[in-house]
Symmetry: C2
Subunit: 222 residues, 2 copies
């Protein structure tokens, strides 16, 4: 990327990660851990292979990622975030929190992946009753599955299926994520197609860190 030519830490940060696709590559490596080229390509629907290749070289040159040959059985290159790259997590969290407000508008052609279903509750909700016993929530949206585990006041998530979920949230991504992130209340989410099975009381434990309900309502109307 052409430098902004400004002695300002924001501009210098953008000199490094301001290029198209760059922060989304960091997102994938942050959510998935070390990845092969094809993993990244699959996790970034829409990216061109040549561009991904270019970005990975740039990121390696800038010291944000490392490229290593995986141990014998795999025998392929693995890309992973360096310490510098990992420290972008607060940037991605801030961006993702700010971006929640745009999740209520529907765009039917948008791609959707289990990874993105999983990180939202991990980053943007807290356990409102940290002393309560552990609980497991299964999320289902557009055939993508993720699990939330509430334990010791922590909200852990992972893609995939739970064997013994206490609560299942099933519906279109907009309804599931809208409820979890606090841009929708339960009633609105229901109208958008959310189906809740199991211990409804667990819903009150997942408290969105995002925004006050009043503003949420206003925006949800639109």
């Amino acid at each position: 990327m052409r430098s902004y030519g400004q002695y300002c830490s924001i501009a210098r940060a953008l000199d490094v990660v301001g290029d198209r696709w760059t922060l989304l590559i960091v997102r994938e490596l942050l959510l998935r851990g070390p990845c092969r080229f094809t993993d990244l390509k699959n996790g970034l629907p829409g990216v061109a292979a040549n561009l991904l290749s270019t970005r990975l070289k740039e990121l390696e040159a800038a010291g944000l990622i490392t490229r290593e040959d995986a141990p014998p059985p795999v025998a392929t290159a693995l890309y992973a975030l360096s310490e510098t790259g990992l420290e972008l997590e607060p940037v991605l969290k801030a961006l993702g929190l700010w971006g929640l407000r745009f999740m209520s508008v529907e765009r039917p052609d948008d791609a959707f992946q289990a990874q993105w279903l999983a990180y939202a509750p991990a980053w943007f909700t807290t356990d409102a009753d940290p002393d309560a016993p552990p609980a497991v929530v299964q999320l289902v949206a557009n055939d993508e599955l993720a699990v939330i585990e509430l334990r010791n006041g922590q909200v852990h998530t992972r893609p995939g299926r739970a064997t013994d979920a206490d609560l299942v949230l099933d519906g279109p991504p907009r309804a599931v994520l809208g409820l979890l992130s606090g841009v929708l209340d339960a009633e609105r989410a229901g109208r958008l197609g959310l189906v809740v099975r199991g211990r409804h009381d667990l819903l009150t434990r997942l408290r969105p860190v995002a925004r006050d309900p009043a503003r949420t309502q206003d925006e949800a109307v639109q």
Copy 2:
């Protein structure tokens, strides 16, 4: 900007602010408050006028800024951040904090402005002795002036000259900002040309929020 086409709040945020120059425009409006077109152009050295014009329209359409005719005496358009735009501050702070690590490499042709001298201590330092009496620090770097006011545990800053500074930090931007942000210690900053006049003891009050000294040293060596 072409949409990433991903139902992920990070991707959707980048759909709105991922374009070149967009976040720097927000930076200017955040640091300066409402601006005229020409103010923005001056505050963003390197931006093309047509591009700035395009971005301002896009940002207005996205609801991040408002455009209003200023009251009679001025009679010109003023651009200001909306509530949605203001809420990008955490994103800019996170980016700026992460970007500090790149401030130690010198690029002589980089532009430098008093605004950027001022926001760094406001965002990235705290008053280590909040109960101490108020104090004023004058910053001087490349003919750009800024003032830090320590008061009630707060670190306030503004561009410009102080009438009665307790401490003056004068030197190249890299030395002044490096010391304040914690990427340089006082000795290194001195070697880069920093001149300290007045109450040296105030230096210990300005505590960088950034990073542990050990890593700082390692990187400063390079």
